[in-house]
Symmetry: C2
Subunit: 366 residues, 2 copies
């Protein structure tokens, strides 16, 4: 194999596929990146067997071939080369010589045949949606996935594809995030995608409205973004029937400026985090909501202007769960919907109905 | 005590004095910042008993007084407040109430009398030099101080004040950095300042040519930078007679572009750091210097254009010690001066004689 390509493009490609490479793997070949000529392009692949990332770059293919090189060392070397042509030549013994300007590296590689093949996902029946929309949907749900592995299905985000809409849902037993979008597609499907996969997808997605294509098999999902393809296993098992958790009615509804509430919550949480449970208390009265928290070292009293519809409310929350949602809601104002002091609170934007966030309260003592 | 001041100014002041506060201290009062009215100003003080930082800000002093508040919590709170007036009111029981816009915090403080007084340094016989010059001198020497504490005196930088010049010197047994500057001052002195102190000074110094005033006692040094004063203990003991270490002659002198050499060294060190000692080898011949390094995973060959005066050279170095110096030398070109393959190499800018860097070679086997 012998190829020539641009340093900057190669470095960026390594950077993309390196995300799937785990440094902790016990299988040495998985610490490497597969470089393989593919027509007039060079294909780079990284995988940890859970997720695989492929990226294609333009290159001058002088002779065909393939090799696996250490992701870390190759990445470091290419990143430090000047922005000029890079030549990579591989001999019969899997030694790769990398030449660029006044530099020449020789790296001992591994044979490409030992690199695991990524699962095959047939590219028919694409589900298409704009990259920036998917990016936003991931951002607004992924933080609500469970971190601990006691219920593995909750470490992923449920993706529900319907003919007229797409739903993404995450929940961890304390809160739930539901993002909906209206997309027409002739595909009905339902799958739970690991948060780790969506995290990597999110980094690759561009802030633009060109489509990403999604393909499913029973066990895998493939995201195709122009030059980059991400293949991941799906989480197995039945997702919780989330719809029945979300209350349909409320007794009190508060309308509040998102940034004001976020600022007050951030300050209140400075003391809340000194105590147990990050506990903050809301007192909702007429035109004012007060947010208070107590710790050994002191206390805080915040007041926020609101519009209240319904009854007064006294309720407690783990401030972290509120902050997570307020940080990713783009709308200027939100509704907070309450029923009783021990039933869930719903947070939603006032200007559209595409986002619903549910938080369980903390029971107040005394 | 009751004062009103601007949020942004107060936050920046806390940020400055907080640098002297250690979170690891066993003395609870040292986790605090002293706030004390001082004429029409508010004085903030942080100290870990080794170093103390005082900062003065303009404030409306409604009533005099002083208090000690947790540096971490106070810093977090003030940083999160809006950019408006902040009122701090302290009652007889050392409870501080902080009010700003719609926020009210109450923090339990500690009595100011329990806060340790900083050592007194009489402000006569100032040694003056421009802030940006001192900043540059610190940057070009501090990295060569010893990290391990086996010879405590080497964890500091020697400052030699003479009537016509100032020298700063650091060494750790493997390399030495000497920065000189021509400054006229009617003061002769010599002191070893802890690297930690100079690190903090460096953060406070501005990139401008207004003077910083330096005052010494036998045991302490005071840096006065307009609104901020830093007081530190000095390191005790005799510094090494560094002048006799620096060779006065050489057999070979190489002239080389600083950036080219830095680039090649950075790439070579990617493989050097995989092996022992970060070893890189230089081969100096006529118009070309080659830099090579070997590791289990591969090898690297870099070539750099040079002008050689004198004999060919083959010599090995720990690449880290070269990189440290090349990163902070501002000049476009440097001289490398060699005598034998086991004697020190001198690195110096070609366009002035204010900087001298010495590196011991690594003995090459075979």
């Amino acid at each position: 194999m012998k190829i020539i390509c641009n340093q900057r493009i190669l470095s960026s490609s390594i950077n993309t596929v390196q995300k799937a490479v785990s440094s902790k793997t016990t299988l040495p070949i998985l610490k490497g990146i597969l470089l393989e000529t593919c027509g007039q392009q060079l294909k780079l692949v990284g995988t940890d067997l859970e997720i695989g990332i492929e990226n294609y770059i333009d290159a001058e293919i002088i002779s065909k071939g393939a090799i696996v090189l250490s992701a870390r060392i190759l990445g470091d070397i290419i990143r430090k080369l000047p922005d000029e042509d890079v030549e990579i030549e591989v001999d019969m013994n899997n030694n790769a010589t990398i030449r660029c300007a006044n530099s020449e590296f020789t790296l001992i590689g591994q044979p490409a045949v030992e690199f695991p093949e990524l699962p095959t996902v047939e590219e028919s029946d694409a589900y298409k949606l704009p990259q920036d929309l998917l990016k936003n949907m991931i951002k607004q749900t992924i933080f609500a996935t469970a971190v601990d592995e006691t219920r593995p299905i909750l470490t992923g985000v449920l993706m529900e594809l319907q003919e007229e809409s797409i739903n993404m849902v995450a929940l961890d037993g304390y809160r739930l995030a539901l993002r909906q979008a209206n997309i027409k597609n002739a595909l009905n499907n339902k799958a739970v995608i690991p948060a780790k996969t969506l995290n990597e997808i999110n980094r690759i997605l561009e802030e633009e409205n060109t489509d990403v294509e999604i393909f499913f098999t029973d066990k895998h999902v493939l995201f195709n973004m122009n030059k980059t393809r991400v293949i991941s296993r799906l989480l197995e098992g039945e997702f919780i029937n989330y719809e029945q958790i979300i209350p349909k009615e409320y007794k009190s509804r508060v309308k509040v400026n998102t940034k004001s509430l976020l600022g007050s919550m951030e300050r209140a949480s400075l003391l809340a985090k000194e105590g147990k449970n990050n506990l903050v208390k809301f007192s909702v009265r007429d035109e004012l909501m007060t947010i208070t928290s107590n710790a050994e070292i002191g206390k805080v009293f915040e007041s926020v202007s609101i519009e209240l519809e319904g009854e007064d409310v006294d309720i407690g929350f783990n401030s972290k769960y509120f902050l997570d949602a307020l940080k990713i809601i783009d709308s200027d104002e939100v509704y907070l919907e309450f029923t009783t002091s021990v039933s869930p609170c719903i947070v939603k934007p006032t200007d559209h109905s595409n986002y619903t966030y549910l938080i369980l309260p903390v029971r107040l003592v005394g």
